[in-house]
């Protein structure tokens, strides 16, 4: 019984290490191919549009309402000890340090990370990736590099937008609905939030962008088993990327703040 349990744990560990190694291998190959000519600017811009511009609406909605609900919740707590004036800075700190990068990345994982896995997975099972190899065009350069670059570059951009609209959302609720004094609200926010809070949040966002694009590409690139396999790859990409983002968030936060 005990031996069986240890066996199961051991097998799971081996599988995890194997998979992690393969992701790292893809990551290294991506870096190598990133710096080989020619650069495919067109493909990179196309992915930046897909990951960035097309995620804008989702990110704005998520950011605004997160900021708004934060203000609402913080108000109820702070009112108990007459600290309503701190609602603004609380919202701003939470958005820039934590919720801006994390929620943006989770939304983009659902939107773009899943699409990367599905697209590359379909290309794998319909032999389009093999076709690239046979035409002496490296699929990592052609497919993975533009997506990873787009992920790393666009997530900070989306996050700063989410931070901004989140703070606006908080302001509308705090000042507009809950009648906190506008001057104090903004003043406290400026006093407490520092540039580093915003900057570190953006560094996190870039890391999350790397995770979601790399996991999405990895799952898609190594898809097996037809249509079912593509579905499985897509689901796994979203789950693994989301969980990895949340776990790495803890460590990044511990290291930076």
């Amino acid at each position: 019984m005990i031996i069986k349990t240890i066996e199961i744990i051991g097998l799971a560990l081996i599988r995890f290490i194997e998979e992690f190694g393969r992701v790292m291998f893809l990551f290294l190959a991506t870096i190598v191919w990133m710096f080989r000519l020619p650069f495919r600017l067109h493909a990179i811009f196309k992915q930046m549009e897909f990951v960035g511009v097309n995620s804008l609406l989702v990110v704005i909605l998520t950011g605004t309402f997160t900021g708004a609900v934060l203000a609402l919740q913080a108000y109820h707590g702070f009112r108990l000890f007459s600290a309503e004036s701190l609602v603004g800075s609380t919202v701003a700190l939470a958005m820039t340090r934590e919720l801006g990068p994390v929620l943006t990345s989770l939304m983009v994982t659902g939107r773009a990370g899943s699409a990367m896995a599905a697209e590359l997975g379909t290309m794998r099972v319909t032999e389009q990736i093999d076709a690239l190899y046979t035409m002496a065009a490296n699929p990592i350069k052609y497919l993975v590099v533009p997506r990873v670059i787009a992920g790393v570059l666009m997530l900070p951009v989306l996050t700063i937008i989410a931070d901004f609209v989140g703070i606006i959302g908080g302001y509308i609720v705090g000042v507009g609905l809950l009648n906190i004094n506008s001057g104090i609200y903004i003043d406290k926010m400026i006093e407490i939030v520092e540039l580093d809070d915003i900057f570190n949040g953006l560094v996190k966002a870039a890391c999350f962008g790397l995770i979601l694009s790399l996991v999405g590409c990895y799952k898609g690139f190594y898809t097996t088993g037809g249509a079912q396999g593509v579905g499985r790859a897509t689901t796994q990409a979203v789950v693994i990327a989301s969980v990895s983002i949340l776990i790495s968030d803890y460590f990044l936060t511990a290291a930076m703040f």
């Binding site: 319909t126 032999e127 389009q128 093999d130 190899y133 046979t134 002496a136």
Partner: protein, 256 residues
Amino acid sequence: MAKEEPLSIIELIDVHKSFKGQKVLDGLNLRIETGKITVIIGQSGGGKSVFLKHTIGLLKPDQGEVLVEGVDISRLNDRQLNDVRKNFGMLFQGAALFDSMTVGENVAFPLREHTRLKQHDIQEIVERKLRQVGLKGVAHKMPSELSGGMKKRVGLARALALDPKIILFDEPTTGLDPITADAIDRLIVDTQEHTNATCVVISHDIESTFKIAHTVAMLYHGKIIEVGKPEDIRSSEDMALQQFIRGKAEGPIQIV
């Protein structure tokens, strides 16, 4: 015995390949003659695709050599392998057209990758290659708008874009109606005559095999058990071969 060996552009020597402990190729030996159509027949799931992927370096043998023009491609690095691959064109079973690009862009893809031709010249080559496979006015269409037979034609046009010395065909007639299949067969023969390329076809379509092949090889249990001219293959006394070309369920070949 001083027999003159015909020139062989591809040669596989004692190639072994296993997947997850299961032997797929088990000491395969084969020489493929330059400028001829060689058809490899064998059961579905019998390692034909694995064989074909070895000849273009998509898979590397566990043991043995794959020589293309005398060079063992299993020992090359990525860059050298890419240089070798520029001599190849491959038509995939499902055509494997890039579905994010139009037909024209698909055919232009290898040209854009590997030549410095101007847009205008590329356009002209694309038109010519599409005409060569009997297609006209489809360059702006998306692959999803085409029928199975047309996709294969586009796939062939793309494979021909760089005027390859070797063209590989992965079950070119599978999944096509008999008339379209015959048209594709003719296209293979015409293409070979027209370009003088070496064609390697894997197939389980017996009728089409005897229509197009200069040489037929039978793959069975991971080995080439017989190679010869179509008429020699027909009159072969090998039980497995006879069972296969007559399409009988009873015989030495077990149905999996």
